[in-house]
Symmetry: C2
Subunit: 210 residues, 2 copies
C-alpha cells in the first residue's frame, strides 16, 4: 500500500499502461469503439490476463461478454498517467543529442511540450534553429519556479550531470529523464528514468551472441 491508500502499482504495470494507450489510440483512429482484452493484449504484445490484472489496479472498466470501450479506457489511462493535460518540460544540455530531442516531434502529441532549453553556452552557434528559447543556466531556477515545471530532460556531459541535477532538484524539478551516462544521486522524492543508449546496445550485444 502507498500513502494515499490505493494499492501501490507495479512499475511495469505503469509502463504497460503507456503501451495500451498507444494501441487504443490506433483503434480510435480506425473508428473501433470496443475491444476485448484478448485483442488489445495481442496488439500490446502481452497476455490477456496481464492486461486485465493491470487494469484491475485502477478499477473495473470492462463489460463482461463485451469488452472495453476504447474511448473510456483511453481517458482512464491518460488520466492515471497524468497526460490528459499538457505537461511542460524543460531540456537541459543543448548538445547534439539535446538539439535532436528538443526538435523531436514525438513528444507533443503525447501530451508533453518542451517549453525551453537550457545550456551553459546558450548563444553558441548550432546546426539547427529551435523553436524553443535557449537560456543560460543562471535563468533556470527562476524559470522552473515561475512556469511550475516539474519535469526535465537531462542531456548534459557526464562530468557535469550530477551538479546540474542538484541545481534542477533545488529549483523544484521532481522528475528527470536522464540521457547522461552517470547514475544520478537524488532525494527519494525525485524520480529518475535513465535512458542510456550505450547500455541498450550492450544489452542487445549480449542477447544476440547467446
Amino acid at each position: 500500500m502507498k500513502k494515499n491508500g490505493r494499492p501501490s502499482i507495479p512499475r511495469k504495470t505503469v509502463y504497460r499502461l503507456s503501451i495500451y494507450l498507444r494501441c487504443l489510440a490506433r483503434l480510435r483512429e480506425n473508428r473501433i469503439n470496443t475491444v476485448s482484452s484478448e485483442a488489445l493484449a495481442k496488439a500490446a504484445g502481452v497476455k490477456p490476463t496481464q492486461l486485465r490484472k493491470d487494469l484491475a489496479y485502477f478499477g473495473t472498466f470492462g463489460r463482461r461478454g463485451l469488452g472495453y470501450d476504447v474511448t473510456d479506457l483511453s481517458h482512464m489511462i491518460a488520466n492515471e498517467l497524468g497526460t490528459s493535460s499538457l505537461q511542460p518540460v524543460i531540456l537541459v544540455g543543448v548538445g547534439n543529442l539535446g538539439l535532436a530531442l528538443a526538435s523531436y516531434r514525438g513528444f507533443e502529441k503525447e501530451g508533453f511540450e518542451i517549453i525551453a532549453a537550457f545550456d551553459a553556452a546558450p548563444d553558441r552557434k548550432r546546426d539547427k534553429e529551435l523553436k524553443q528559447p535557449i537560456l543560460g543556466m543562471d535563468r533556470l531556477a527562476e524559470f522552473v519556479h515561475e512556469q511550475q515545471v516539474k519535469m526535465a530532460i537531462l542531456s548534459v556531459p557526464a562530468a557535469v550531470a550530477q551538479e546540474v541535477t542538484n541545481a534542477l532538484v533545488a529549483a523544484g524539478i521532481t522528475g528527470l529523464l536522464n540521457f547522461s551516462t552517470v547514475m544520478l544521486a537524488v532525494p527519494e522524492d525525485v524520480i529518475v528514468n535513465n535512458v542510456n543508449l550505450a547500455i541498450e546496445l550492450e544489452n542487445l550485444s549480449y542477447f544476440i551472441q547467446n
Copy 2:
C-alpha cells in the same frame, strides 16, 4: 536453464552488468586496483548482495577478505557482454533523431561503431554532415551481408517501422534498438530493445504525481 547448459541470466542482471562495467571504468581511471562488493554496489546504486548474486551467474571472481580485481572484473564483464571487440552497427532512418544518434560520440568508446546509415531518401539535404555514408534502402541487404552486421538502430517513422524491420530481419539483423513508437513483430531469435521517449516521459509523469 538455456540451450547451452549455463543457467539463463535474468535480463536485469545483464543490464546491471553494463552499469558495473561503467563504474569499474571510472575506478580504473583513478588507478584503483581492488574494490569490494560494497563499494562497487554503492557506485552502481544497488545492494552489495545483488552485485554478488549477479556476478555469481558467471563464476567466482572475488577474493574473500579482499574484494575484486578491477581489471579482471572489467575484462570478464566486457567479455560476457560481447563488447570486448568492436561491434559494427547500422542505423536506419536518418531523420532528426537518426542524425543525432549517428553523430552521438557515446557509442564509440563503449565498443560500438555505426558504420553506415540507411534512408529512403539518402541524398536529401540534412542539417549536418555525417562521417558515415548514407545509403539507400536498396543497398541494405547486400551491405548487411557483406559486413556481417548483426545489430541495427531503427529510427524510422512509425508508419514504415514494421516493413523496414522485416527487411532488416530478412537481411540477417538479429538485434534491433527500436526508437520508433510501434511494437515490432519479429521472429523469436531476433531481439528488440525498445527506447520509447514518450513512454519514459509518461512514466515519469505518473510517478511525480503519485
